[in-house]
Amino acid sequence: MPAIVGEHLTKIFGRGETEVIALDDVSIGVEGGELVALMGPSGSGKTTLLRALSLIDPPASGRVMMDGATICEAGRVLVDDRRLRRRRMGIIFQSYNLIPFLTALENVALILTLDGVPAREALRRARGLLERLDLAHRADQHPATLSGGEQQRLAVARAVINDPKVILADEPTAALDTERGQAVMELLRRLGREGNAGVIVVTHDERMLTGFDRVYRMLDGRIASSGRTAQPSEERYEIAHE
């Protein structure tokens, strides 16, 4: 069963002469443990699709399903979207978006405490995850004192602390150099597989596509092409045009 499915999603901004069709009948599905790349030029609708799937900015029409249940249909959100995001989704931002006044440990534990997990337990689990991501030595530091790579690893930790079904990452490597970017991609791939979470990564950096199971290419609000990579573990990939 797919972790998340978007069917015939449409999103329009503005009216009349200023009308922009950001999503035009887009359908996408991601299986648990699958790593999917969403590519395309600026303004092609990648981020809008991510917002639509996460219900941050729901689609005007179409349907979004998670684990077979419809969570949004014809512009109506059918669930508590914030509860859904903190319990079953992990979201990673281009510019990390860590809470500056919380320490690294607290940033990771925050999602759990928001969901009612006792602070002590949340901090214990967060510390364990930071150890796995080799960030334990930075646990008591505030984000501003961390390097870009460390901040993005921390953002990844925050996104996976709640064992999400879906991880949505919006250009997570845009602010990182190639080496650090690939390290973050590798981390996402590993954590997605371990947690059997479907991972959708928005990127326009071709060099980062190594190891993706599937690549969607968007243009003018549509899926222009999608294809499964032949050997995800290899550096080269192939795109089968539909």
Binding site: F13, V20, A22, S42, G43, S44, G45, K46, T47, T48, L50, R51, S54, I56, D57, R82, R83, L84, R85, R86, R87, M89, I91, F93, Q94, S95, N97, I99, P100, F101, L102, E106, A109, L110, I111, T113, L114, D115, A119, A122, H142, R158, D170, E171, A174, V202, G221
Partner: protein, 398 residues
């Protein structure tokens, strides 16, 4: 995990600086409250210090603090005979100004019968007045040292003692002298006026054949009579009912009698009423300014956190968590500002030129108002925060 506490801890320096600014503003509000209370206490101090149960004043007047009241000074002898009266004593009040060297001083002069009511209750330096003439006990607030010689019209006084804590409703320190001295200062006429009155009297005597045998010299002292007082203070016997004694004096002696409470009422509700209203208005204006400033501070603090709030929404924080973050910070700001203000006013109020009385009850009320202001002001920030579009947190375009 308390987000407000962590935000305050992270931005502690700026938070404390903002709280200090708010504290200074609240110090001004507290000071105005203290001045307001001081005004009341000062105005009533002169009545309370007299220690009288009843004030006998000129008929149809409100007594010496509200208007002119002149009664014979020997009225006290007949008042003493009224059942229930333990002691009665004449007093004279006058606001006057004199100079010591080049420096002018303004005082509330109180003349009292030595050994009677109305004198200084406690002398904190020097001694009380013991000689019948030309000695003065002055309020320490005047800043005049013992031994200073003061010329008031034709009389020269020597300061023999200092008292403290009693001032007029205008905030002037008091100066106690004997009743005789006070009468001479207040009631004796200038030489020109005496000559004028004497000539008019002689002319009247000549004009009336019935008074032709009256010698002008025999009635001359009438024009120079100073045996007047402004009030007679009455202390009642233990158990005596003030209303009964008051009714008795008013019925048989044709004077107005005010109880101590009525006298305080006259001072409180008429003499200093405008001052009180003015101070009250200033307090109200300052509170409104505080509301606006607190609201702006909290709104600005919220604007600074818009991206963090958007991020919180994206990662799934419920509205109550975001509202609590803003509300708790607003309350923390208000309470810390209040504490700083209270400490500041507590350390400075005694240096104010006029008496400033900081009343604990007023402080608690102000704290309550500050809490309410913070809650109301935070609503603006909360409203803004809840309207923040979570997509603000996300980069990228479409």
């Amino acid at each position: 995990m308390n987000l407000a506490l962590r935000d305050v801890r992270y931005r502690l320096g700026r938070f404390l600086l903002t709280a200090l600014g708010l504290g200074l503003l609240l110090t001004t509000v507290m000071a105005m409250g203290g001045v307001y209370q001081g005004l009341v206490v000062e105005a009533l101090s002169i009545v309370r210090a007299a220690g009288a149960d009843l004030w006998v004043v000129q008929k149809d007047t409100n007594g010496p603090f509200a208007e002119t009241s002149r009664i014979p000074d020997d009225l006290y002898r007949t008042i003493r005979a009224v059942p229930g009266v333990q002691e009665a004593s004449p007093v004279a009040f006058q606001s006057l100004q004199f100079k010591v060297g080049p420096k002018p001083f303004r005082v509330q002069l109180i003349g009292y019968r030595l050994g009677g009511l109305g004198g200084p209750q406690a002398v904190v330096a020097g001694r009380p007045i013991v000689r019948g003439r030309y000695e003065m006990v002055v309020g320490r607030e005047a800043g005049l040292p013992l031994g200073t010689e003061i010329r008031i019209r034709r009389l020269v006084f020597r300061i023999v003692g200092l008292t403290e804590g009693i001032v007029s409703s205008a905030g002037d320190p008091v100066a106690f002298v004997s009743l005789l001295d006070a009468q001479e200062i207040q009631f004796s006429k200038a030489n020109e006026a005496v000559r004028n009155d004497r000539a008019r009297l002689q002319a009247d005597l000549r004009a009336d054949p019935g008074l032709a045998t009256v010698s002008p010299e025999a009635v001359a002292p009438i024009v120079q009579n100073t045996h007047l007082a402004n009030a007679v203070l009455v202390r009642l016997e233990p158990g005596a009912h003030p209303e009964t004694v008051r009714a008795h004096i008013e019925r048989w002696k044709y004077y107005r009698v005010l109880t101590a409470a009525q006298q305080e009422d006259v001072l409180g509700k008429s003499v200093i009423e405008r001052g009180r209203q003015q101070t009250l208005l200033m307090r109200a204006i300052l509170l409104i300014v505080s509301i606006v400033i607190i609201a702006l501070i909290i709104y600005t603090m919220t604007l600074e956190k818009i991206r963090d709030i958007a991020t919180l929404k994206v990662v799934g924080a419920p509205d109550r968590t975001i509202a609590a973050l803003i509300l708790q910070e607003a309350l923390a700001l208000g309470v810390v500002g209040f504490i700083l203000g209270a400490v500041l006013i507590g350390r400075t109020y005694q240096y104010f030129p006029r008496r400033t009385v900081i009343v604990a009850f007023d402080q608690w009320v102000l704290l309550g108002i500050v809490v309410v202001i913070c809650v109301v002001a935070s609503l603006l920030g909360i409203s803004k925060a809840l309207r923040v579009d979570p997509t603000t947190a996300l980069g990228g375009g479409a």
